[in-house]
Amino acid sequence: MGPDNDLMRLLAPLWAGKNGGSGRLSAVGLIPALTLMAMLGPVCAGLLGTLMPSLGYLPAAGLSTLSFDPFIQLFEWPGLPVAMRLSISTGLLATLLSLGVVTLTLAGWYDTGPFRVLERLLSPLLSVPHAAAAFGLAFLVAPSGWLSRIASPLTGWVRPPDVLILQDEWGLTLTAGMVAKEVPFLLLMALAALGQADARRRMRVAQALGYGRITGWLKTVFPPVYAQIRLPVYVVLAYSMSVVDVAMILGPSTPAPLSVQVVRWMSDPDLSQRLTAAAAALLQGGLVLTALTLWRAGEAVVARLGVLWIARGSRGALDPVLRPLGLALGAMSALAVLAGLAGLAVWSFAGYWAFPEALPQSFDLRSWARHLPGILSTGGTTVLIAVLATGLSLILVIGCLESEFRSGQNLTQRGLWLIYLPLLVPQTAFLPGLQTLLLSLGADRAIWAVVLAHLVFVLPYAFLSLGDPWRAWDRRNSTVAAALGASPRGVLWRVRLPMLLRPILTTAAVAFAVSVGQYLPTLLVGGGRVSTLTTEAVALASGGDRRAIGVYGVSQTLAVLGPFILALAVPAVVWRNRRSLHG
């Protein structure tokens, strides 16, 4: 089984199988190939566009001598060891902690009242754009931030203490920020996987055998759940290592993590620095690959040790400590982001607000009045792009899943890797190359080019979101409907889509949120002419005006929360008289 073989499997539905009955090339059958092209084409083209300059080839800057000089330049940069260390330590630590928090919370509290509260708190946070969450968090924990202000009557601070919290050299605040943002993602992924792991019954058996909740969970439920969420965990690892916007806000700058440095070099007035940037982008890709390999090796070690641990039969003496810890960590990560967002909201209405006041001296609508015209016009573009990207991604994903269903060819593990590829390759490694490609095709800065660029990142999440509920649908429904005379198309439109309305709308909301949150793809492909709430927010962020950031952060959050509320409300209204379709 080589990758080619998997590619064929993924593409196999191109030729409608025996069971499709027609033998013709069907429209549904073409979709997987289209989808694959939409996702992987830009990544591959972009990587090529990065590879060339890293070898010294950048004709526009008058550079066309092939050499390894860009790499030599890169390795001569004195900050490189620290920047690389930061990238790796942030990535591994953030992933380990996120996974730990999610596992402890699930193990200790799944199926309990507190868990349902936590789940409700965390789910909407998934959609909060990274930049907005990071700003909120920065304002919360800075020495002059909200917590310090609130504590000032006790501490007696009239000036903020001169302590290094934000931008600390070890990237711990950055790591904490990534954890707070990735916990909701992993939790939802794990919840989806739980359905297939038969958690309730396994836990009943484990507890009947005298195992504590957490130990029982780790020994019986965690292994199959982890197998299911392995790829999302890798995504968290790759993303935490290569994130740019969050690292610029929370991360250290002397030196910055490698990804931030790539962007800096990319924007250096000295054009030859582009070459160093390209070399660093490739190094970044290599680092991610190394970290993934390390993680993979770690998995094997943990699995080996886990088997020994399970065989020892210990029932879990630490459970009484771990259980409250899990809930506390889960609640903390949710509350930190929520409180940060609340801080942004307060800033957006703030008049003069000096340290150490816990609240502004006055509230006014000046900031909102000032930015409203901009928000309305960029908001319109944002929604237009997001709606188009969401619609296209739904068509492609449903087409792929339906084609998979009809042909009976399930996606292999390796095929799944292909879907995740755009999320595993660092954005900085292929987006600049992609921009050059689109330019030479004359296809940049049109809205549709931006939509297609968004699609690269929206599609994997749409797949993740809809794949499981789609496959979990009882295929006997299809047999019954076909036996009653319904064609495959009839089954899809009259039975399957209505029954899956709720997960489809949730997927749409996820896709929408992912599109709204895109910064680099919008900026690079849109040539700056396509402004969205996110590009505006990040541009304003460079100015550090907290009121403006507050207004845009709140707008951005509202823009993604709207669809989520609709995704909950629409099925509740449409299926108000259909009890078994209530979540």
Partner: protein
Amino acid sequence: MADSLILHNVRISRRGAPLVSIDHTIAPGTVLTVMGPSGVGKSTLLSYVAGTLSPDFEASGKVCLGATDITDLPPAKRRIGILFQDDLLFPHLSVGANLAFGLRPGGTRAHRRQRIESALSDIELEGYADRDPATLSGGQKARVALMRMLLSEPRALLLDEAFSGLDVSLRRQIRALVFDRARRMHLPVLMVTHDQEDAEAAGGAVERLTVANLSA
């Protein structure tokens, strides 16, 4: 009108390993019961007949309804009704709409509605057309599922452990109803079950599949 369901030298294997081998003609109004432990391929046989066999399996032989070879027809064209252990009423449709889904196309709207009303009264569920299927009892759901299938005017009937989900008294009642209707409509029935009582109630031939069934 009534035809036999003919399984002509049907052999199903999974990745080369033989699974099911059967050669049988089911006369109209009679039942062939296929029994055997779980995992032996009973349901695989039914999906082969229904036309929904997964590509993981290879099959040879023919399925005919009387003189018509339906082996290569898509499921929707075979006109073979199927009942599962669960009622599988479509949860997004009302009881009446579920029946209308089954009812063969044609006729005026008023005529169709009237047919559904009379079908409902036939199974003692008058006035249930607008109900959410989720609010019905187990026996009521089973009757709606049966009626939905019959309204599609099938030419043969497959029962996949169709009565296993029901409690003992209900089970007898529904089973009697299904067999009674099938006989009245002269439908050949292929039933898969692991319950001896089902087989006895069916009163027809019994085929027993065993693990690694290699017999001809």
